[in-house]
């Protein structure tokens, strides 16, 4: 195989760093509103019919949306094996909680309306709420920890060791900055769910979703700006020291790493990246305005812009770091030393270039077929076939 030399190792690493972002953003844009809708369910649906309207706005699409999450896991495994290995074993119990939510949620969707007893349905509604809100919070918490650096090191054989007893590992994740990041992600996804219901629902459900969604948009902006201030004044960043190869073998122990004054020095080195946080803040503010004034499709687009801006700002600020180690600096994972081999990255890119456009194409078609509002009349008339 000589074909893979067509694209340099360095370029492939940057491309895969970008694709990692694409997957995370794809997940947040699609499954994000499913989680947001789940978190909103008890507050925007008061009667059983209203709740079924809420659930059926995402009913036919959540399953496809969730694949972004699964693909995210698979792609990290294939393109960034050390990241996959360290993060999932390090955040072990938190990952379990997220998985538990993602296990319960599909079942809750499918089974909730298969029996008529109010108690049965109330329990599944509760399950939908928890399985929407908890992962939405924890994803932010995880990112908040990655930004601060995570306590792990590699042995010479590259066995990943995550420091601390099990309770310290789990509760250590719930530190103030990480919780702030969790508030950003939760409120952002609730805003997104509100914008989605603004498009797909009508009447009382839509009005409640807009009211809560607009509050969430403001909370998201405030928490995001606060986190930015924290990064500027209250937290050191990381930097690579000395010479390093961007196309060398993927061994995290090959680099020297030190703390830097602040992550935000990236904005001094690469001023253009400021576009990301600006998109995040402006997008969320426009979503707020849109939700208040009752615009539908444009509000959903602004909400997407906000999510795109917020998530990409994290990646762009940390570049080239992916997951710094707070206890053993040289174990930190960067774009240049924790990818798959040149050949694997190339093959995976080849597969992505073929399949990702197809996925986007048929997903758009499905959304188009399902276009239109879900009404209470729909739920009454199609009681059997709907959720």
């Amino acid at each position: 195989m000589i074909l893979h030399d067509l694209i340099s190792y360095e370029a492939l690493r940057v491309i895969w760093w970008g694709l990692l972002g694409v997957l995370l953003i794809g997940f947040a844009l699609t499954d994000g509103f499913d989680m947001g809708v789940g978190a909103l369910l008890p507050f925007v649906g008061k009667t059983d019919t209203e709740r079924r309207v809420v659930i059926n706005t995402v009913g036919p699409v959540w399953e496809g949306n969730q694949v972004w999450f699964i693909l995210g896991g698979g792609a990290i495994f294939a393109a960034w094996p050390p990241l996959y290995s360290v993060s999932f074993s390090g955040f072990y119990l938190a990952m379990f909680v997220v998985l538990a939510c993602f296990i319960v949620r599909p079942v809750a969707f499918k089974y909730r309306s298969k029996r008529d007893e109010p108690l049965w349905r109330a329990r599944w509604d509760w399950a939908l709420f928890v399985s929407g809100a908890v992962p939405a919070l924890l994803f932010g918490v995880a990112v908040g920890n990655v930004i601060q650096g995570v306590p792990f090191h590699f042995t010479d054989d590259l066995v990943a060791i995550y420091e601390g007893a099990w309770y310290a590992k789990f509760f250590g994740l719930l530190n103030p900055f990480a919780l702030l990041a969790g508030v950003v992600s939760l409120s952002m996804l609730v805003m997104h769910g509100g914008a989605w219901l603004g498009v797909k629902a009508e009447g009382a459900v839509q009005a409640r979703a807009r009211a809560i969604g607009s509050v969430a948009a403001l909370v998201a902006v405030l928490a995001y700006v606060l986190a930015g201030v924290w990064l500027a004044f209250g937290m050191e960043g990381y930097r690579i020291v000395g010479d390093y190869a961007t196309n060398g073998p993927s061994n995290p122990l090959h680099f020297e790493v030190a703390r830097s004054a602040s992550w935000l020095s990236a904005y001094h080195d690469r001023p253009w990246i400021a576009i990301a946080p600006i998109m995040g803040i402006v997008g969320a503010l426009l979503t707020f305005v849109g939700l208040r004034s009752g615009r539908e499709v444009s509000t959903l687009l602004f909400s997407k812009m906000a999510i795109f801006g917020v998530i990409s700002s994290v990646g762009l600020t940390m570049f080239p770091f992916i997951m710094p180690s707070s206890t053993d600096l040289r174990s930190s994972l960067t774009v240049w030393n924790s990818s798959s081999s040149h050949l694997t990255l190339f093959i995976m890119l080849f597969a992505t270039v073929i399949f990702l456009p197809m996925i986007l194409l048929y997903t758009s078609w499905v959304y188009k077929v399902l276009w239109g509002k879900v009404t209470e009349a729909d739920v009454r008339d199609n009681g059997h076939s709907l959720y």
Binding site: F77, P82, F355, Y362, V369
Partner: protein, 536 residues
């Protein structure tokens, strides 16, 4: 067996994988059966086939939901519980998993929603396409995960890189067209098709025994049996192919399944039954069929199949050769690859045995310090526990042969005896419903338990592959998974039974009217032929 972190992690993986595989085979097969039924509906326009599509589709949906939910765990568990494995072989193993997501999961998951919600939103043909895309998506996902699993059994197209301390891909097509993976894929999807056929026939037989939904049940049995005959032959033939592959890629697994301690002059006999004794290294009360093992394993009469004792001796040699590779690896790593060509050649010549040196890590930190006794112990570790493999394999094979017989019988009755089935046969069909699940679980057990003590055969020992978690971590999640999965399983079963008892509930009037007219027309009554009907 002492329960340390390795055993707990293995138990958790086994539990979650086996739960997951309670749902997968039915998804694989039923997706296709439903698509076939809908195809008949679209081509003949007879409402009964639409009703069948919707009825079996509902059961498919209940099963699919939990299949997806339990499958999700699998995608992340490698990183959570097998972090060194992920680091060590992620460069090869991760790729098929990611491609599975890109090619298969998106397809099935995006269209499954439209299958259930799109009846009124799509044209007939478009909806039929959706049904087939779901079926194709499910089956593609089996392809990619079995390519990944096939590589664990027969790690081709990769080599160890001392600078990155991991296996790296050298030939993607070797991984893709791995003979083990190909045989496993067809074997596994065929098992899924058999499962769905047995399920459809069994549920339909239950209807017939009660005289309910007779038209739907008879047609369903016909589709199920026709599909099932082909699938049952395929599952047994490809199982045989897998056995043949094992004879050159995983000799120890084959010898263990066969409980063949000593090398026998070719052609070796097959132990039909017997009682393997791991300590004494012999098989008590064995009933042997001459020649059969040699024929299955080598497809010849003059090729020898090595027994367990001979393979243990070979393992000792490979451990010593692995130590040479290990020493060279340390030097290459320490000097960042700048070593003399002699060391490089030395590493190259012995790197295939590097994994065997890693077996010593169970006994000493540095494999180079191992004593002769430790080397011997490590070589003995390469023998998996024999009796569970011996028996699960035989149960699986017996069931497989049973499926061929049953399917042929039902196919014959459906095709040549006017879809009339005697009551004892219907009772048998109902009782047979759990059988394909038992066979499938046994099959996975043989495949994965037989791979021990390796996660990747000959490359990475299981004991090294685990994450360095605490016993509390894994105990908590194991308890959590068991609890969650059991609750979900109970709910799933109760809903499944509820919807089976309820029977087809959609398009009832239209179907009944058509059936009455159809029966009347077949029996030659004038009012039946006089009315123009859709599709006739």
């Amino acid at each position: 067996m002492e329960f340390g972190i390795v055993e707990l992690s293995r138990l958790q993986f086994a539990v979650t994988a086996m739960y997951h595989f309670l749902f997968v085979p039915l998804t694989l097969g039923l997706s296709i059966l439903v698509a076939i039924m809908e195809t008949v509906y679209v081509t003949t326009n007879r409402p009964i086939w639409r009703q069948m599509t919707k009825f079996w589709g509902t059961l498919f949906g209940i099963n699919f939901a939990i299949g997806v939910a339990t499958g999700l765990t699998m995608e992340f568990q490698f990183g959570m519980n097998w972090s060194y494995y992920s680091q060590y072989v992620g460069d090869i193993f991760g790729a098929p998993l990611a491609i599975e997501g890109l090619m298969a999961f998106f397809l099935e998951a995006t269209f499954v929603g439209l299958f259930f919600f799109g009846w009124d939103k799509l044209s007939k043909v478009a909806h039929l396409c959706v049904a087939w895309l779901v079926a194709i998506g499910s089956n593609f996902s089996a392809l990619w995960i079995l390519i990944a699993n096939g590589w664990m059994q027969n790690p081709v197209g990769a080599q160890f890189n001392p600078l990155t301390m991991r296996m790296e891909m050298t030939d993607f097509f070797a991984v893709l067209f791995n003979e083990v993976a190909q045989a496993k894929f067809v074997h596994t999807v065929s098992a899924g098709y058999v499962t769905a056929s047995v399920f459809v026939i069994g549920v339909s037989a239950w209807f017939l025994l009660r005289g309910r939904h007779v038209e739907l049940a008879r047609r369903s049995i016909t589709v199920g049996a026709a599909f099932g005959v082909a699938a049952a032959f395929s599952v047994v033939l490809l199982g045989d192919e897998s056995g043949y592959n094992t004879s050159h890629s995983q000799k120890m697994k084959l010898a263990a399944i066969e409980s063949m301690w000593d090398t026998h002059p070719a052609p070796a006999p097959f132990n039909l039954i017997g009682f393997p004794d791991q300590k004494a290294r012999e098989t008590h009360y064995a009933i042997k069929i001459p020649w059969v093992m040699g024929l299955i394993g080598t497809r010849s009469l003059d090729t020898q199949i090595p027994g367990i004792n001979e393979l243990v001796d070979k393992a000792q040699e490979r451990i010593r050769s692995g130590q040479i590779a290990y020493k060279a690896m340390l030097e290459i790593r320490a000097k960042d690859g700048n070593v003399d060509p002699a060391t490089e050649t030395l590493f190259k010549d012995h790197s295939a045995d590097l994994g065997f040196a890693l077996l010593l890590k169970k006994y000493v930190d540095n494999p180079l310090d191992a004593t002769d006794a430790q080397i011997k112990a490590a070589a003995n570790d390469t023998v998996p526990q024999v009796w569970p493999l011996f028996w699960s394999f035989r149960i699986m094979v017996a069931l497989g042969i049973g499926f061929i017989g049953t399917m042929i019988y039902f196919f014959y009755r459906a095709s040549f005896r006017g879809m009339k089935f005697p009551r004892p046969a219907l009772h048998l069909a109902v009782w047979m419903i759990p059988a394909p699940w038992i066979a499938a679980e046994m099959g996975w057990f043989v495949s994965e338990f037989g791979r021990q003590p390796w996660t990747v055969d000959g490359v990475l020992p299981t004991a090294l592959s685990v994450s360095r978690l605490s016993i509390t971590d894994v105990s908590l999640t194991l308890a959590g998974f068991v609890l969650f999965y059991t609750v979900l399983f109970i709910i799933e079963m109760s809903l499944m039974l509820k919807y089976i008892r309820k029977g087809p509930f959609q398009d009832v009037e239209e179907t009944e009217a058509w059936t009455n007219r159809h029966t009347a027309r077949l029996s030659g009554q004038p009012d039946g032929a006089a009315i123009a009907m859709p599709g006739e």
